[in-house]
Symmetry: C2
Amino acid sequence: MVQILLPVRAKCIPNALGQLSPPPAIKLKLKKKILIHDIAKHLDVSIATVSLVLNGKAKEKRISDSLAEKVLKYVEEVGYKPNQLAKSLRTGKTHVIGLVVEDIANPFFATVAALIEKKLLARGYRIIYCSTNGDTAKTRDLLTMFQERHVDGYILALPDGVESDVRTLVRSGKPLILFDRELAGVLANAVVVDGEKGMYEATQHLLEQGFTSVAMVTLQAGQAQMQARLQGYSQAMQEWQLPEMVLELEFQQEREQIIHQMQAFCQANPTCNALLFATNYLGVYGLEAVNGLGRRIPEDLAIVSFDDNDLFRLYSPSITVVAQPLEAMAESIISTLLSALEGSQETGRITQLQLAPQLIVRESSIRVPQKARPRASRTKT
Amino acid sequence: MVQILLPVRAKCIPNALGQLSPPPAIKLKLKKKILIHDIAKHLDVSIATVSLVLNGKAKEKRISDSLAEKVLKYVEEVGYKPNQLAKSLRTGKTHVIGLVVEDIANPFFATVAALIEKKLLARGYRIIYCSTNGDTAKTRDLLTMFQERHVDGYILALPDGVESDVRTLVRSGKPLILFDRELAGVLANAVVVDGEKGMYEATQHLLEQGFTSVAMVTLQAGQAQMQARLQGYSQAMQEWQLPEMVLELEFQQEREQIIHQMQAFCQANPTCNALLFATNYLGVYGLEAVNGLGRRIPEDLAIVSFDDNDLFRLYSPSITVVAQPLEAMAESIISTLLSALEGSQETGRITQLQLAPQLIVRESSIRVPQKARPRASRTKT
DNA sequence: CAAATATGCTAAAATGTTTAAGCAAATTTT
DNA sequence: AAAATTTGCTTAAACATTTTAGCATATTTG
């Protein structure tokens, strides 16, 4: 999807002040940044006093109320803001959280990131976020970068292959929480969704609707959560004693390739009358693939995808999904993180949470051959 | 859309080492962080020497090749990484860029952010990103936070109301670039899309298709780019001497409210047979609204939205859009920023770029009353 | 009234770098 | 052979804070 640069108007303004400025050395009155030293000098007190007052240790360190007030007043007046770099250097705290996801443009990660950001901001934390794009080397780079920047904590959804790096990170003692996916052999805080249960229920639902030839489309990745989703499908199929049909796609392929493989799979398995997609974007591509083949949903082919989004909700027919509890994930991640950050240093305690996804039945998986009403039917909680 | 917390499995592991650890004081062999001082001591040279070698100033400062090599080798061996906080404090550079958008969960911003991140990362820069949610006070907070964190540059898509803050920021001399929207009266680098042209062409297209009663759905915001989009619509309508119909929605409303107002608008204007949406998410909500009313697209109502996304591309019927050149935007933003960051300090030069959007005609705006083929027809460039 | 304690503040070390200035020794130039 | 320059490195200041330890003075206690 390469877009083309088409500048319609392009101004280049040589100098904001026009062309007649006589000497090139214009003294920009760059208001000299005010320091704690300046505050102290002006009030004729020591730097320490100002610092203590500003950090709320006036009482504790027996600074008189009158002086403390005077300091605060003057600080407010001149709008002094402590240099966070110096502060961090001294205290070892940056109040920055590192967030690593696979791809921030993916609605699932974007939404969770937005929720987390909102809640952490209120607690005085900032986040630095980065995408791994599933690349192990890049992930490793990002993790060391976060260490270098001295983030106070980590929120991570990582590709597999970086287990030992994460183990080292855990050992460093900084609060760390895995989400969306755990890492094999890494004992760390984690918040994940029970994909097995979700896919089991989705498969059951399809089978109960009478779709007997259900195939699963997933990724080859060794990631634990992917295997769980597949497992849920397998389980249900076995219970019904039906043969499993799985399309395992290679990771990090181009959109066109994926669609092509899906179409090939459908043509190679003409009896297949229902598709389960293991992720958000596989589902999106799947719709394109099915459209391209001219198959009708759900008459010719029923569809269920893991992970909800706008497209699935509004598509016609609307798409049945296994929705992840985004708010609850964000909430759990943050509370786990905060208790690790602000709690005492009992570093040995770890928390692992597995949340239940929710099957939202829509039109794409309903057997009735009669045209369904255009309004989506949605499960209530 | 409140999701409910349903923990299925919740482990709480008291201690990673089990329950029989005799004294509670386990000496975690926390490998003492290695400092430049340690390197110097071990090699029996001064700290300065090590620092100079590490910063590539060995030649310039006449450190002998043999010594330089020895330093590099040992640094590599012990895996020493300079403390970025100390470095930043000393040099005044953080190599961090602040990115502020309205909402990172919006696919437009998420995609641009992802592109920017990717390209800046390769140049050794990191980004801190935050969402304003259109809130002026929060935006102001974010901007001061970025200043406090000493970011090296700013990439901003801001709500109106923070003009003076941005002016101050510009005056501070840090590289700064506005995107998506300019700010009234703020002379700064900017990369925007020509919404007027885009909407003009979209309106023309609808009129040429024979939809004579075209309405525009937009936001009340005073933002320049919104007014431009409206202007493009007005222009076209005037040329055809047709009456304008505009629904101006208040900013920051709930989804349900917006949908409700759209539906009310449609019912109040039964003759209206085409809708233009000024943004991405208005378009999405618009589809829900139209669905809810049971109107068929495009038979009863043609639809065009500003800003493309998965939903519009895959929706059936596929939705005609005015697509923004995301790659080109990211590219322009970065090259402008980098030249400001790495170029000399000629701070007076500003660059303003306006890129052309692209009308992608799909099914939702084609007059033909016969059922269109399911495959989307797409303009080629 | 001496000793002990409380009060109100400050000096200075510490955080981990970069970099300007400088200093001997070696080499080259007059 | 003295003067000048080059070589190869080091000293120490600077960056902007926080925080421990401590110092007078004032108050309370025995």
